[in-house]
Symmetry: C4
Subunit: 273 residues, 4 copies
């Protein structure tokens, strides 16, 4: 995002969107604390017994944070140049969703749905990650996952086919009398089983069903190795290209061999850290 | 599969079996959509409440897709040269199974078994994977799994022995009064436990049984590392041979040894990146 | 094991203990089939309904295999030189345990305990693995596990400490009224939870208990990475030293560097496959 | 910790804190046995039936070990120079917690809380690990985990966000009538599901809830690959730097580059094994 040229908006921008000044750091710390406290308030509000005893206190807390976040939202809009860009960005929408349910609650009776939208506030905490040293690690994980997304897609596709067939089979074998009342429900059971979650709310009762279930379980136990292998590989690839190879100081070429002493593009000596 | 020499059969072949013309791509997209919709119809048909309300609509949908797939099946047979080869290939059989249950349903009362065969249609979607860029990823996963199949076989063999012994032990220790009514059922329990699924429909009640179960669980928790390690290793091997080895600039041969300096086919010097 | 010098004992030894003659291969195939069938008979015998209907048939089958295995056992003893060595070897004891329960059953009323000892026969199948090409894979897995056994021991030790402390904590927090009736039972629950099995026969009911359980689950979910990492690493180490480095044709030295062209012991040129 | 200069305190220090003399080794073995037996006594004491029958025996055992550990504790304090340093070190506190509950039990009625503090004695066993060869392996695992702690933190952070949102969603979709009585409880369920534990004490009943749960399970099944990948990578990194690089024969510097031929500190030629 472009930084405003000068004046109070530039100052505000430095505090709100950046984290390399004392004021910017303080702002981020206060923001994290507010987000966590406000999400905690949402959670407590959903517990029947706490709501009965402390409902009015939580209502005040809720309004306090809503007003705080509203001021923050207005200031954010005020100090960016590209206002439309911010408002419709991912975090812009999250910021908006963080405040709107409380206002809607004034006109409509408070419903569970509003409660949940309020819990989306937790997503805002990610924007503050930028201030800490964790940004590199987060990027690293993101890169590794991005690099493996196609393989993971093919894998999930195969898993989907598997659970559809397994679900259909157990629907036939076990039938409604053993809890497999329909194919979608059987597929739900197959997912529960293949992922080794195993709630046990539905479980095969017939011998054939248990034999088939055993097969699915061993399959699930075995194929978990596949995504693990994928991510491990991509992760080591990502890290290798980030860490091992120094950038050529003359021509900027990256991805040199591990033992390269000179850039293989321009012959400059490489500076190893 | 050999492509027909010329004429309308060649054209049809290009559309149905290949995906590098606009018509071929359109055909594949329509086919994927039809497959998914027809499998969804099968699933909905198995839900009691939906069947009661929309049974006749689903019946029409079912016949619509069956006729569509029948036409496709006839055209596929028409345009390949080696008809027998296609009909008895894996996808040939899947294509046949995708249409036959509806016709059988005309003579026999619709049973759950026919329903499930219809759900095998989902397998057809894999034939369309060829059109997208995912074919490389799929091949990669296939290669890695193929390379590790022997190790996985030995591993599964050891797991099988383990669950037979563990199942027998718990049958003795717990007995029929705690749900371990027979050795096969105890083995089913051992698989549920070792794979960390843990339905909880059967669970040891005695102290000794729980101690043995603890052992099995820790074993299962530990040995899941084995298939993961196998696949990770083979995967990185597969990818290495795909990525690291440069292509010969003269003859185009790939998959050279990691340390090859000259192409082992034509003797040209390899350019390592 | 030393091979007998000559005569019928040498011939028998070749058939029974080795697998590189047609007779030796046939023997192994028949043995595998017998083992699997006899274990299946043991399993079926434990199912109440099958026993009632086919008990006498199974009794005959049982005696048939017992006599077969007894003959085999006697022949094995006859044809090895070091008889004591065979009898007290691992497979010698397994061979003995495979036949003795049926004879004991003549004098004592058949009990479940004898049934289970009979199921140990499945272990015998491992001795036949030698005949197939899987011996390399089995050795590979064994090597990798052996190399990582110390790290796995330290890991299991840490896990044990964790479940003792977690079990004690939940015993205090939840108490007997929620199923955590004693510390050993709580430890059993902690193992069920940490290994992500999750039977659900015991589950925390209080808020604090559920919070602690959440912690244990996330820990268990995270630390499963540790044994996986250990085995993956050792596996890739094992394979590397087995596969990549060629043996020196002059001096027999193994474990050369990946890119070695000459033996670093005697200077002979290495033949890469 | 600094060793005392001379006299009986030095001798005692050698026995208690070190393990390279016969007396020191004997001390460690006796200590391990005492710790394990005393923890076993604590566990048995929590079992209702055992307590009723052998309560007085266990009480004597408990006092025996408490006095033993008290003497050990006093001797440890006596023979270190920096007494305050020992007392407030991690193991100093654990040593103190190992003995104090029994004394408190004299004045207060024995409560479950004291029982649990006594079970913390198991932590003491780690101090004895120093004597065996496992210290390297333990250090190795510690290093690998330390190196990956930031990535794991980011990962746990993302998981936390996920379970908060998933928990809130299922609270709305399923509601109190299906066991999702509050957002914290729903989050507990989301953790149980995402980590593939799956107790089954709470399980979604509605179709939409089951569909969402399926998504969470597949996510959980997939993202377990992330910590595994992280630890695998760091582990191989840690080991590489430990094993591959030879030690300089002149100056003893370790951790040379993989391809280093000369020590980069003193220029001596490195001897590669």
């Amino acid at each position: 995002m472009k930084k405003p040229e000068e004046g109070w908006r530039r100052k505000l921008y430095t505090i709100i969107f950046e984290a390399d000044t004392p004021a910017g750091k303080l702002f981020d710390v206060v923001l994290i604390a507010s987000i966590i406290l406000s999400v905690l308030a949402v959670m407590l509000d959903s517990v029947q017994s706490i709501r009965q005893d402390y409902g009015s206190h939580l209502y005040i807390v809720e309004w306090f944070f809503t007003i705080l976040f509203t001021i923050e939202y207005v200031l954010r809009i005020a100090c960016v140049d590209n206002k439309r860009g911010y408002i419709f960005s991912f975090f812009g929408i999250v910021d908006f969703l963080a405040i709107i349910p409380t206002y809607i609650g004034l006109f409509l009776p408070a419903s569970r749905y509003l409660l949940v939208i309020r819990s989306l506030r937790i997503l805002r905490i990610f924007r503050v990650l930028k201030l800490v040293q964790y940004i590199n690690e987060a990027n690293f994980l993101k890169e590794a996952l991005k690099a493996s997304r196609r393989k993971i897609f093919v894998f999930l596709f195969a898993v989907m086919t598997l659970v559809v067939i397994a679900g259909s089979l157990l629907y036939v074998v076990e039938g409604a009398e053993n809890g497999f009342t329909s194919i979608p429900r059987s597929i739900y059971w197959a997912i529960v089983t293949l992922t080794t979650v195993g709630f046990g709310d539905i479980a095969p009762q017939t011998s054939l069903g248990q034999a088939l279930a055993s097969l699915i379980m061993i399959l699930g136990y075995g194929i978990i190795a596949v995504p693990t292998g994928i991510v491990s590989y991509e992760m080591s690839n990502t890290l290798k290209s980030q860490l091992i190879s120094p950038m050529c100081p003359s021509c900027g070429k990256e991805n040199h061999d591990v033992d390269a002493l000179y850039c293989n593009q321009c012959g400059s000596k490489l500076l190893k850290e």
